[in-house]
């Protein structure tokens, strides 16, 4: 009986110990398994992000290439034809009778303006021009063109020490600014637009504010859609920057873009 009880004690003792070890072992292995699973998920997420980044990068390259081709076409083909037409009109005006020569001069002026506008357009599209002149000069030029053709009051301020980003970053930031300004012109019905660039040792910050009609702003965690805003957000992500849009109906819109300065390469 004593032996039997002793065996029973041992049985329950080892049985319970085994159970305890099994439970602890299960929890330990579950933690290890889950940790591996989380690591794999994070790697997958990183890969997806990298893939999206590369895809967007390629899209931007294709877009820039298209813009370049269009700009060259405007400059070399359409521009040349218009210049020739202008020259012909000058010759015609010299030999034509008085009432007709006046009309020809008017048409010549119109063609000259078209040539000028096309040059501006080509310049805006040409990435070489943007990367050579730099972001601020390119934006200033763009704003001058807008001022000539609209009643919009524009204020552009730069603070801090402007520095040159890598050509691709410069180009993407420029395209983003173009998109933001075009949105204001097309959709905001604004009277004033304030653009400010702030260069600090760690960041580049741009704030574009208008006094237009505004729109119902999205919650911070919701993806932005429409008005090319999603596109802006993607570009900001490609650069490793952060874009925040604040707006409410009738209260205008403010687009705040922050780019870390160490992230000069794409």
């Amino acid at each position: 009986m004593v032996n039997f009880l002793s065996a029973l004690t041992q049985l329950f003792y080892f049985g319970s110990l085994l159970l305890l070890l099994l439970c602890a072992g299960f929890i330990f292995f579950f933690i290890v398994f889950h940790k591996n699973q989380t690591r794999l998920l994070l790697e997958k997420k990183d890969m997806q992000f990298e893939f999206t980044r590369q895809l967007l990068h390629s899209q931007l390259e294709i877009q820039e290439q298209t813009f370049k081709t269009v700009a060259q076409e405007i400059h070399d083909n359409v521009g040349q034809i218009l210049t020739l037409a202008k020259l012909n009109m000058s010759n015609l005006a010299a030999t034509a009778p008085a009432p007709l020569s006046g009309q020809i001069e008017n048409n010549k002026d119109l063609v000259a303006r078209a040539i000028q506008d096309l040059r501006s357009l080509a310049r805006g599209l040409n990435m070489d021009y943007i990367t050579e002149t730099g972001l601020i000069k390119a934006i200033e030029y763009q704003l001058e063109q807008i001022k000539k053709n609209s009643t919009l009051q524009i204020r552009f301020t730069v603070s801090g020490n402007p520095c040159q980003f890598s050509p691709q970053t410069e180009l993407i930031v420029y395209r983003m600014q173009q998109e933001i300004i075009n949105n204001v012109i097309k959709h905001a019905a604004a009277q004033h637009i304030d653009i400010s660039y702030n260069y600090t040792p760690g960041h580049f910050e741009s704030i574009v504010t208008d006094d237009g009609i505004g729109f119902a702003s999205h919650a911070a965690d919701q993806p932005i859609k429409g008005l090319g805003l999603g596109n802006l957000q993607s570009r900001a992500q490609v650069l490793g920057g952060r874009l925040t849009i604040t707006s409410s109906p009738g209260q205008g819109t403010s687009v705040h873009f922050v780019l870390p300065m160490d992230n000069k390469m794409i």
Binding site: S16, L20, C23, I27, I31, H34, Q37, L41
Partner: protein, 177 residues
């Protein structure tokens, strides 16, 4: 909040059984605390597993009613229905682990209070279920040495259980946001 209630209930429960454990009224109070514990655990599992169906509620009600019946008609601690509750708890823990293993998103379990709570419950309830089942055997019940060994193991299990519950409680405070 629920975890705090549970810790208060269980610590009060343990205190009562230690002080008055061998008295009739002690067992009665222990049983009553145990019923509250079952309800609180039911609510915790409902919260952890995001269960909102009638089967879960029905199972909890059945366990509670059966426990009350056992307390009323049988003297001593409600061992049979507590075993039922242990199985219910282990099942819920298994469900939690299954959901966690098949979850598509990223969850950092180290920071997850629910994980530590469930880990504590698994360890405690498995050993306690084994202990309660062993008590059914008279050979074991009358073997003082075996019971003593088991009490020691239960003590170790209790330490693990409360440590894990406290970890869960602290984690839920630190990583609330």
């Amino acid at each position: 909040m629920l975890l705090t209630v549970l810790l208060v209930v269980t610590s009060a429960n343990e205190t009562w059984i230690t002080v008055l454990g061998h008295h009739k009224e002690g067992t009665l109070l222990y049983n009553l605390f145990s019923l509250i514990e079952i309800v609180v655990w039911g609510l915790i599992f409902r919260e952890i597993n995001k269960i909102n169906n009638n089967y879960f509620l029905a199972a909890l009600v059945v366990i509670l009613l059966a426990s009350v019946a056992e307390i009323v008609y049988r003297k001593g601690f409600h061992t049979y229905t507590y075993r039922l509750f242990s199985l219910f708890a282990i099942f819920n823990c298994a469900l939690y682990f299954y959901k966690l293993a098949t979850h598509k998103g990223i969850i950092y379990i180290g920071r997850n209070a629910a994980f530590w709570i469930v880990a504590g419950v698994v360890i405690f309830q498995t050993i306690f279920l084994f202990y309660l089942t062993a008590l059914d055997f008279s050979a074991f019940r009358h073997d003082k040495q075996a019971v003593q060994v088991f009490h020691e193991i239960i003590a170790v299990t209790n330490i693990c259980y409360y440590c894990l519950l406290l970890t869960g409680l602290l984690w839920s405070i630190f990583y609330r946001h």
